[in-house]
Amino acid sequence: MSAVSAEAVSGGQTRAPGPARPVEGAPLAPAPRLLPALAAVYRAQLSRARVARIPLLFVATFQSVGIMVLMRGVVDGGEAARAVVAGSSVLVVAFVALNLLAQYFGQLRAGGGLDHYATLPVPPAAVVLGAAGAYASFTVPGTAVTAVTGSVLFGLPMAHLWVLAAVVPLAGAALAGLGAAIGLLAPRQELATLGGQLGMSAALLLGVLPAGHLPQPVAWARDLLPSTYGVEALAHSYDAHPDWLRVVADLGVCAAVGVVSLAVATWAYRRAAVR
């Protein structure tokens, strides 16, 4: 007869925070798994749009549509028009996912709100991915409205606008990851706000202006900004015969930045939650 309990045997196979792991002392309450916890955080964050509808859903759209109306007087068609529409659409993502999320995490950290999550057995990745996912989702209506309005305004073909279905989540992941990392790493709330604002301003200036006319150093800065690749992917889709390989490559950059920045943000959350 074996002296090893069934629990101890199965304990080796369950994942670390699982309830069956044998530990001395009183039994620990089960910790939620990543996906259910992520779903719960995502749903809760998404519901905040009901309370904070105007900043989360409308301001960015008004800003982008305003910029396009302004540029309509300067630009009439061609490559410049594509750059303006694509840049303005992705700007919605930058405003919400980068700027507002950086502000949110900065505020949460300064106001002691992280304690709430830190005293729950929730995996850090669930908090970061849930919030980032929700903020990326907030950009969907604004980006779609901006892209369609811009296409009508500048007379661009809408046949390939479905590319937005890939641009929004991937650029959203990249920019929300950056926003979360900035918000959680900034030593003070004001610096988190400033970081988010600067990131958004960069996305505005470098994304909306056509790349061909930029001086070389600014063009390099443009290449460093992850939102650029979302803008490029969208701009290419306006071609009569889009170079899909380039579109996929651009989106791949967004995805890679998203993975890295979300990993950094998760690390930053862990660091910020327990001092």
């Binding site: 002392g25 089960p30 939620p32 809760a44 309370v51 002691g112 709100g113 005293t119 929730v122 327990v274």
Partner: protein, 323 residues
């Protein structure tokens, strides 16, 4: 069930800015020993800045102590701070994370993040909201509620997903008496049904006297006394507290009043005295009869409270709420 030994946490010195001197390092908890028993409501009483919140943050794994040990139900929380979240239900002072959620969603989400499956989280959410009388507010965002209601909603969230230890940091701040009663009834029920232990941070002496089984008095990061409220009161003996309020000023020309002045703690028109019953009777007789009575606006005679204990133990005379 919870044993704390030699807990020390020092906040580093704040760098001085131009024109202001640097603040010295602060020992927020300075060698704290504590023993909380299963099923009791244990209180931490002290003025603001005494180190109460720093202490509970170390017990909940939010803050790493510089030295010392925390054992909770057989788990070493200094070595494994992440286990605290699976043993402790915590109600902090801030509601930032929940402010923009509805009361129902705040409770449900917190339950899910405590590891409850969806159906169980919803069932517990409904039960807790009913228990605390929050059901009519279930669909309102916390942001739109009054301070006391918001606090109650956060308390509800802290209860969803049962834990053997509840750490409540000033849970009843801003609540009306109905909400307070709901909180203490909910705590009592959990204690009776599940043997739940409660660690309560408060600076409200009345609350401390009525709900606590035992209380530790904190002052500048140290525990200066720890006993039952009645036991602590015995420390100040049978001294009685006499409060005198003068109409304009004390009639110092009356010799009995002039003699009392040495023992009085004066705040404006109010004199506070701690006297043995014999002298208290004599003092009251002196001020209520004779010429001093004309100058007297009001007087009260009370048996010792935890506040008197706190003062008698050498606590600084500020920061405790009496109401």
């Amino acid at each position: 069930m919870c044993t704390v030994r030699g807990l020390v946490k020092t906040y580093p010195a704040a760098r001085g800015r131009r024109g202001t001197p640097a603040a010295p390092p602060v020992r927020a908890t300075d060698g704290i020993d504590l023993e909380v028993r299963r099923g009791e409501i244990f209180g931490l009483l002290g003025p603001n800045g005494a180190g109460k919140t720093t202490l509970v943050r170390q017990l909940t794994g939010l803050l790493r102590p510089d030295a010392g040990s925390v054992q909770l139900l057989g788990h070493d929380l200094v070595r494994h701070p992440e286990r605290a979240a699976r043993l402790v239900g915590y109600l902090g002072q801030q509601s930032t994370a929940l402010d923009e959620l509805t009361v129902a969603l705040a409770a449900e989400t917190t339950g899910r993040l405590r590891g409850l499956p969806l159906a169980a989280a919803r069932a517990e959410r409904d039960a807790v909201l009913d228990e605390l009388g929050l059901a009519p507010l279930a669909d309102r965002p916390l942001k739109k509620l009054s301070g006391g209601q918001r606090r109650l909603a956060c308390f509800a969230a802290a209860l969803v997903g049962e834990r053997p230890l509840l750490v409540l940091d000033e849970p009843t701040t801003g609540m009306d008496p109905v909400a307070r009663r709901a909180v203490w009834a909910a705590v009592d029920r959990r204690r009776a049904e599940h043997g739940t232990t409660v660690l309560l941070v408060t600076h409200n002496v009345i609350e401390a006297e009525t709900v606590l089984d035992r209380v530790a008095v904190l002052e500048r990061g140290r525990i200066i006394a720890c006993d039952t409220p009645a036991g602590l009161k015995r420390l100040v003996g049978d001294e009685v507290r006499v409060d005198l309020v003068w109409r304009d000023g004390p009639p110092l020309d009356v010799p009995e009043v002039a003699a009392l002045r040495a023992a009085a703690h004066e705040t404006g028109r109010r004199w506070s005295l701690r006297l043995d019953p014999e002298r208290a009777r004599a003092a009251v007789a002196a001020v209520t009869g004779g010429p001093a009575f004309a100058a007297l606006d009001d007087f009260t005679l009370t048996t010792p409270s935890l506040e008197d204990v706190y003062l008698a133990l050498g606590g600084a005379d500020r920061g405790l709420v009496k109401g």
